[in-house]
Amino acid sequence: MKQTISGVVLFCILLIPPVRTYMESIMILHMLVQLPLLILAGWLAGKVVIQKFSRFFAKYNENGVPGITLVIIITMYWMLPRAMDEALTFYHVELFKFLGLPFLVGIPLRDSWHKLKAVGKSFVYLNYLPMFGLMAWLYIDTPIQICNNYLEVQQKVLGWGFLIITAFMVLYIIQFVFTDHSEQES
């Protein structure tokens, strides 16, 4: 219950106009803070939803694959530079962001993640790794201003943000596979 409340609170905070405007005014905050926080809000609130509609989730998201596919498609959409631009220009895109990310990403992510097998999880992880790396490259390297609403400098900052995330993801995976996970010993 606690989690659900904190999820709802987080969602409301993100909705407060000054918070929203401030986050969207800086590209890196928009993409790498606001969007993930929206997903997090959905994840937190999702506990209750998943319990309540457990039959629905068991039926349509039996092995977690449909849910995670939805997650991947929507998050990929939000990595497009155009999507962020349009969120600022068209209210229905903004609406889709605030509804889509918590409900269509956060909740299914929570439901799918624990249902996925190890290979599925690592596959998803290794899909995001090159995608983030590519985004880093794109935003750092592109000589033109991709978004109407953000300057080229902001683009570069976002690119470095992606690069740092990618680097941490690589480090995480390296430490994961090279540290011991055997069950029989100690």
Binding site: V119, F123, N127, P130, W137, D141, I144, F178
Partner: protein, 491 residues
């Protein structure tokens, strides 16, 4: 008992499918190779468009098919030690076939011809030779193929971690550091599989980045990327992935030779250190493809030379030496399986020589992108990696059926050996004569070796046909055995 047998049958079925698909594609690609050499030799009139389409399909197909067949070999032996998912191996095969179909349509129906290196920004800038559709079919086809292999290696990695605790233990680092006794070291199959899992997941990740990057650039050329970084990623992907083929196939050498000679081939400390070296070097030596980019940081290029030399050490001092030692005065019974496997070690070592020579920067200055390079990798891949795969085919046929080897097989063995030696030799001679690689036509003074190579290629293809015939005989024999009432009861 019956469950065990049927389980073994169905596992073998999967490996057999991998090998059949791989073997047939390799044979078909040989035909394209011969046609290209004939065109270069002036004996066949081939339009440049057709030539470069053949070039693209030949490179892509050979690497892909050999990788698939080698993955089958790895899967066969690795599944004896750890629990692998059959489903994922099937998905890999299915995605491979889908990818191959897309690549074929892209190349032949939409005239896409960027060579298998698809060096950015060539897919998008083709001087109107091909359009967006062809490029996208090819690039997405490769991506799908890559996804299949990624799943495959994620599964092998998962299985190794589950059984041994971590990839570090799969490489035997606890034995190297002395925490564990040498006798408890992971088997050579595990070590090799761990190495391949590490390098290929890295390669496929780099490949995914560079493929999607090219896709973005093809769809919207306004998005441009750094061509030097693109080149680094392309070769990181291509070199590692192609290189991994021999490291997967060599598992067959370890397993089969020790069985034939009745001598153990255990992983000891030098063996483990050698494989750790191979893991590290394979990941970083791709820079020897970029020695002619003087804008690269100089230290990286010097490392490219130094580490390429060093990368010869594990095979020269450990693996090939071990193979020679295990065969020496062993009273081994030579048949097609053991013969091809022994030949493959020869092919590997002899094929490494021109590579090391060419990795020398001053040599590379006048030999890079000449036919010297295909001279190296035809020997290394066809006489090395593919001989391992075909040797494994004969071994499997013997294990799994009662089909017998005939005199034709022995003739084919000789034909294959001489064919590849002739083919690679002709490439090396061309390279020494400064003939550029990837040229649709040659000047008259460069034609003779190309024609000789084509003849050698025909001999190779005919010999390989004999190998494939044997494999098909095994398949039909095996099916008959399956259909007999006795085995029905078992299943």
């Amino acid at each position: 008992m019956s469950a065990v047998i049927s389980e073994k049958k169905s596992r073998n079925n999967l490996v057999v499918s991998y090998l059949t698909v791989g073997g047939i594609i390799i044979l078909a690609m040989m035909v394209f190779g011969v046609l290209m050499l004939l065109a270069q030799g002036g004996s066949l009139n081939l339009s440049p468009a057709a030539f470069y389409q053949f070039l693209t399909i030949h490179g892509t197909g050979m690497v892909g098919a050999a990788a698939l067949a080698a993955a089958g070999v790895m899967w066969y032996f690795l599944s004896k030690y750890v629990e692998l998912s059959k489903k994922i191996a099937q998905v890999n095969l299915a995605l491979f076939l889908i990818g191959v179909v897309m690549v074929i349509i892209g190349v032949f129906s939409f005239e896409y011809a960027s060579a298998w290196t698809f060096l950015y920004p060539l897919p998008a800038i083709s001087a109107n030779a091909w359009g967006v559709t062809g490029a996208l079919l090819y690039l997405f086809g490769m991506l799908i193929l890559g996804i299949g292999f990624l799943l495959f290696y994620l599964d092998t990695g998962r299985a190794i971690i589950k059984k041994y605790g971590s990839l570090a233990k799969g490489l035997g680092w606890d034995v190297i550091s002395g925490k564990k006794a040498e006798k408890d070291a992971p088997s050579s199959t595990i070590v090799a599989s761990t190495m391949v899992t590490i390098v290929n997941i890295t390669a496929l990740t780099a490949g995914a980045i560079v493929l999607i990057m090219n896709i973005i650039n093809v769809i919207n050329p306004a998005f441009t990327f750094d061509p030097l970084l693109a080149k680094n990623l392309t070769f990181a992907f291509g070199h590692i992935f192609a290189n991994s083929i021999i490291y997967m196939a060599v598992i067959a050498v370890y397993e089969i030779l020790s069985k034939y000679t009745n001598r153990p081939w255990k992983a000891n400390k030098p063996f483990l250190i050698a494989w750790t070296m191979s893991t590290a070097f394979t990941l970083v030596i791709y820079t020897h493809h970029m020695l002619m980019d003087s804008v690269m940081p100089k230290w990286m290029l010097i490392m490219g030379q130094v580490l390429s030399y060093a990368n010869g050490l594990p095979v020269l001092v450990i693996t090939a030496y071990g193979a020679l030692m295990i065969v020496y005065k062993s009273g081994i019974k030579w048949d097609m399986g053991s013969g091809l496997i022994f030949l493959s070690m020869f092919g590997w070592v002899v094929g490494v020589v021109p590579a090391i020579v060419d990795a020398t920067i001053v040599v590379n200055h006048v030999m890079h992108n000449t036919k010297w390079v295909p001279g190296h990798f035809h020997m290394y891949m066809a006489l090395g990696a593919c001989a391992m795969i075909f040797g494994f085919m004969y071994y499997l046929a013997k294990e799994d059926s009662n089909v017998e080897e005939q005199i034709f097989d022995k003739i084919a063995f000789l034909g294959y050996t001489l064919g590849i030696l002739g083919l690679s030799g002709s490439f090396l001679v061309s390279g020494a004569l400064s003939t550029p690689r990837r040229w649709a036509t040659h000047f008259p003074e460069w034609m003779a070796p190309a024609n000789f190579g084509a003849a050698a290629g025909v001999l190779t293809a005919l010999s390989l046909t004999m190998f494939v015939v044997h494999f098909i005989r095994y398949l039909s024999n095996r099916n008959k055995v399956e259909m007999s009432p006795e085995s029905k009861k078992l299943a």
